[in-house]
């Protein structure tokens, strides 16, 4: 009856003619063997989980995508950062306050206390990315997967990282953002992924661009490193599945520590479990569901329940420990539990707290205590030795407080319409301030009527300021405008000063009124005898706010003849310039 070839007509058992290619699509609505209805095959809890993950990943990208001037619309642009409980907790340690929206950390903390680390495998966009990449590029056999998903002592490392970072936060140096998955992913999108998308795919679909309406593609200091980091971390999934989540993630460690209190957990019925280890095949967290479940490692992905052929695993409210209730000898095979024969050889069902020995907690804490002075006494961020190019965006708190607050998420860099905000490199602010925002006026300038960075900052490193506060209007008149630095002329490079050539672009673009750049007008006889009127520019430091548009627009583009440094900034009293100059409010 069958004919060769990919598409062929076939007479089925019902006597009708079927196209063979379509027969696979015929829905099979028979109930399962165990009597459950057909849809239990499709609408499993893991399918709901995948849909949830897709939703949160899409929401994450969408919120970054709308973080842009032309898409202003009252979106909670920094929602994921605000509901990251590690951000809330660590900034509470360093500042003793919970800034603006950081109470949203409760959105994650409460589910964790109920259900365990559900965040990691249901919400976290970075976790979703790792899982997805691991799935797409998986080449392992099931046997190999089972082996790769066993718990390893290496997974303790994340608790060491978390402890070091929290101890440092306590002393006033906030470093969680280096590895916190939300900060890391926001930064990676801002600095590497979005610009790469915008110069490639978005060329075909301009309205999809992350940053539409730009004359030039956005550039970022050391973007290659941020890009290489995500390729490396995501690529590590091919060696150890969920490498970042299991080994490095401080947020995972934080939630893992809290998940000891979780009311629900995966429970193994030792009277059904045959120790086949199939539950390890898809175990995302390497939480040992085949033995004693490590609550701190379990991502609550439910793959184990899905994969268990015996129906021995379930998600239960406060399951009782059964170890002491087993009667008889497991070795001899005579053990029973409540009268039922115990099949599994492993009678432990739960390990509550993280597997980090007490001495290693202690070591990590000491490392954190030492790391603080090591970083703070580096010259770049010290009060006595600051980098003149560490120019912070308007609204920033003074440097010491800034380092207590900034999580290096680069959401401010993301929203900045002129690209002036850049992730700091080691050169500007050392390791302690790596990826914190600084302004580079060779790239952009601080738009006068813009306070977007202060709007999106989740932690108040850049305090939310109004336009009146930035410009020193209305009730801020007496205090004057916020200054981020002061501009200087390099007369040796300035065209009118050094080259008998008219210019003064700087004066033209100076946005304050009256202008902070004035000119000495002078008519000279040039070297070739031609009469030339030169407007030699000078600064009026009382008026300069350090916006840097003069540096950005200076025609001496490689090293501008007018340039801004951080001196004169109003956020601290350490870098004032003029005796009569404005003092910090």
């Amino acid at each position: 009856m069958t004919t060769p070839g990919p598409i062929a007509a076939e007479r089925g058992k019902d006597g009708r003619l079927h196209l063979r290619v379509l027969s696979g699509l015929t829905p099979d609505l028979k109930p399962n063997k165990d009597g459950s209805p057909w849809y239990a095959r499709t609408f499993r809890i893991t399918s709901i989980r995948i849909a949830t993950q897709a939703f949160f990943f899409a929401l994450f990208v969408f919120l970054l995508w709308v973080t842009w001037l032309s898409r202003l619309g009252g979106y909670p642009a920094s929602l994921f950062l605000e509901m990251d409980p590690l951000v809330g907790f660590a900034t509470a340690l360093s500042t003793h306050t919970v800034y603006r929206w950081l109470w949203r950390g409760m959105f994650i903390l409460i589910p964790t206390l109920l259900l365990g680390r559900v965040f990691c495998n249901w919400v976290c966009p970075y976790g979703t990315l790792h899982q997805f990449i691991g799935w797409v590029f998986n080449i392992r056999s099931n046997k190999n997967l089972i082996d790769k998903n066993r718990y390893k002592p290496l997974f303790q490392l994340k608790y060491v990282i978390l402890t070091i970072m929290l101890v440092m936060a306590f002393f006033g140096s906030l470093q969680i953002g280096l590895l916190d998955p939300i900060c890391l992913l926001v930064r990676t999108f801002t600095v590497a992924v979005a610009p790469a998308f915008d110069i490639s795919l978005a060329q075909t679909f301009p309205s999809l661009a992350f940053k539409p309406g730009l004359q030039e593609p956005r550039i970022f200091a050391e973007a290659w490193f941020v890009g290489a980091l995500i390729i490396g971390l995501v690529g590590a999934n091919l060696v150890i599945p969920r490498f970042f989540c299991r080994v490095l993630c401080p947020l995972g460690a934080f939630l893992g520590w809290f998940s000891r209190f979780a009311l629900f957990r995966i429970d193994r019925d030792v009277t059904k479990c045959t120790d086949c280890d199939l539950c390890l095949k898809g175990c995302e967290g390497a939480a040992d569901p085949q033995a004693a479940l490590r609550k701190s490692e379990c991502f609550v992905c439910f793959n184990c329940i899905d994969d268990c052929p015996e129906g021995a695993l379930s998600f239960k409210l406060t399951p009782a420990p059964i170890k002491d209730r087993i009667v008889g000898s497991i070795k001899a095979g005579t053990a029973t539990l409540f009268g039922q024969k115990v099949i599994s050889k492993l009678h432990d069902t739960e390990i509550r707290s993280p597997d980090l020995p007490r001495r290693r907690w202690l070591f990590s804490a000491i490392a954190g205590v030492l790391a603080f002075p090591f970083l703070r006494l580096s010259r770049a961020v010290n009060k006595r030795g600051f980098n003149e190019k560490a120019i912070r965006p308007p609204g920033s708190v003074a440097e010491a407080e800034f380092l207590e607050r900034c999580i290096k998420c680069d959401q401010c860099v993301n929203v900045c319409p002129t690209n002036v905000l850049q992730p700091a490199t080691l050169a500007e602010s050392g390791l302690e301030g790596l990826w914190t925002p600084v302004m580079d006026f060779s790239v952009g300038f601080c738009q006068l009527n813009c306070t977007l960075c202060s709007e999106v900052c989740p932690t108040g490193a850049i305090q939310k300021i109004s336009l009146a506060e930035k410009l020193g209007l209305e009730k801020f008149k007496e205090r004057g405008p916020i200054r981020v630095g002061t501009a200087f002329f390099d007369q040796g490079r300035c065209l009118p000063w050094a080259m008998q050539t008219p210019c003064v672009v700087c004066e033209e673009v100076c946005p304050v009124t009256p202008k902070a750049i004035g000119t000495y007008d002078e008519t000279i006889t040039r070297w070739d005898g031609v009469q030339v009127t030169l407007n030699k520019p000078y600064m009026r430091p009382e008026l300069c706010i350090g916006c840097g548009i003069c540096e950005r627009e200076c025609p001496v583009v490689d090293s501008a003849a007018v340039y801004v440094t951080a001196i004169g900034e109003t956020r601290s009293d350490d870098r004032t310039l003029l005796l009569k100059g404005p003092k910090r409010a």
Binding site: N449, E508, K515
Partner: protein
């Protein structure tokens, strides 16, 4: 045996194919198809593709009967625009049905409209409505601002006004620029030009505010074309008057509207304080941007006692307009 021979022939054939392919690409004379050969490095140089605007630009036929300048005074922007354009022949003289019209406002800075550093969005909207009423199939609004385009178009109110009045807004993207040839120009004979909005355009109208300028002393409809250029514009200040004369040569508009509803009489071109702005309540329309600007210089900036900035004479020398507006026919009208 047969199998071995076949395998040998296949492998040898592949090797020979690769050798011939590589040899062809690298050694075949450069005019042969698929050859990559570049014996003297000339082929590897970037192409010098460039554009030219239509001869005579976008001007309509001159008329000796109609007034040279149309001046309207009043408050209602629709009436103002209609009266000023009406004085020089009405919109029907300039825009025919199915024309694609580009309107170039000045959106250079991120300033609220009231600060006078940008074109009044109400005037722009009224002009768009007038052009649409003449049957234009499409009206476009484009500018390449000094500050970030999105911010400038948003803060000045130009984007909203233009879209609400039914125009398409073009902000600059990297791929929107192409080198434009302007024969006879001193500095910008070849310069990157904001080309994308010009594709298919049949008429070009400039609408610029009246502003003081720190370097060229006054920025009006002629300097307004600055916003059509890209590239290293910050070099222009080394001979700003020469550049403005080049701009006048580069773009011959259908007509221009000098927006004197507000006058930024000092601290230009950026302004930033309401104290720098006075209300002018005046529009000037003309096919001659120099004449319109000269009128603005003496009547709106009220600098009639000072000599005109040098770019007027430089442009007039090239026959691009008439600077002595008093010798011209001016039709003035007061509207509501």
């Amino acid at each position: 045996m047969n199998d071995d021979r076949r395998r040998f022939l296949k492998q040898a054939g592949l090797a020979a194919g690769v050798a011939v392919g590589a040899g062809w690409a690298s050694l075949a004379p450069s005019n042969w198809p698929l050859s990559l050969r570049d014996p003297d490095g000339e082929r590897g140089k970037p192409g010098r593709r460039s554009l030219v605007l239509p001869k005579n630009g976008y001007a309509v036929e001159a008329s000796s009967l109609l007034p040279h300048l149309g001046v309207s005074r009043g408050v209602d922007v629709d009436l103002l625009v209609k009266a000023a354009v009406g004085a020089i022949g009405g919109i029907g003289r300039f825009v025919q049905p199915r024309d694609v019209v580009l309107i170039k406002p000045n959106v250079a800075f991120e300033r609220a409209a009231a600060l006078g550093a940008t074109t009044n969005p109400d005037v722009l909207a009224a002009l768009i409505r007038l052009v649409r009423s003449a049957g234009a199939s499409e009206v476009r609004v484009a500018d390449n601002p000094i500050e970030s385009p999105e911010s400038c178009f948003a803060r000045s109110g130009i984007r909203t006004a233009a879209i609400e009045a039914g125009a398409r807004v073009f902000t600059p993207h990297p791929s929107d620029f192409s080198v434009l040839e302007t024969p006879g120009a001193t500095h910008i004979a070849r310069w990157p030009f904001f080309w994308r909005p010009f594709v298919g355009v049949t008429k070009v109208i400039g609408v610029a505010p009246v502003k003081d300028h720190n370097l060229c002393r006054a920025s009006m409809t002629t300097k307004n074309w600055y916003g059509l250029l890209g590239g290293r514009r910050n070099q222009f200040h080394q001979d700003i008057h020469g550049i403005i004369a080049d701009l006048a040569l580069m773009l011959r508009p259908t007509f221009v509207v000098l927006d004197g509803t507000r006058v930024l009489f000092r601290s230009g071109p950026t302004g930033g304080s309401l104290a720098d702005v006075k209300l002018g309540g005046t529009l000037v329309a003309s096919t001659d941007s120099l004449a319109a600007d000269a009128y603005g210089w003496s009547e709106l900036l009220e600098r009639r006692d000072e000599a005109l900035p040098a770019y007027f004479a430089k442009s007039a020398e090239r026959g691009l307009g008439i600077t002595d507006w008093k010798t011209l026919r001016v039709k003035e009208e007061q509207v509501a």
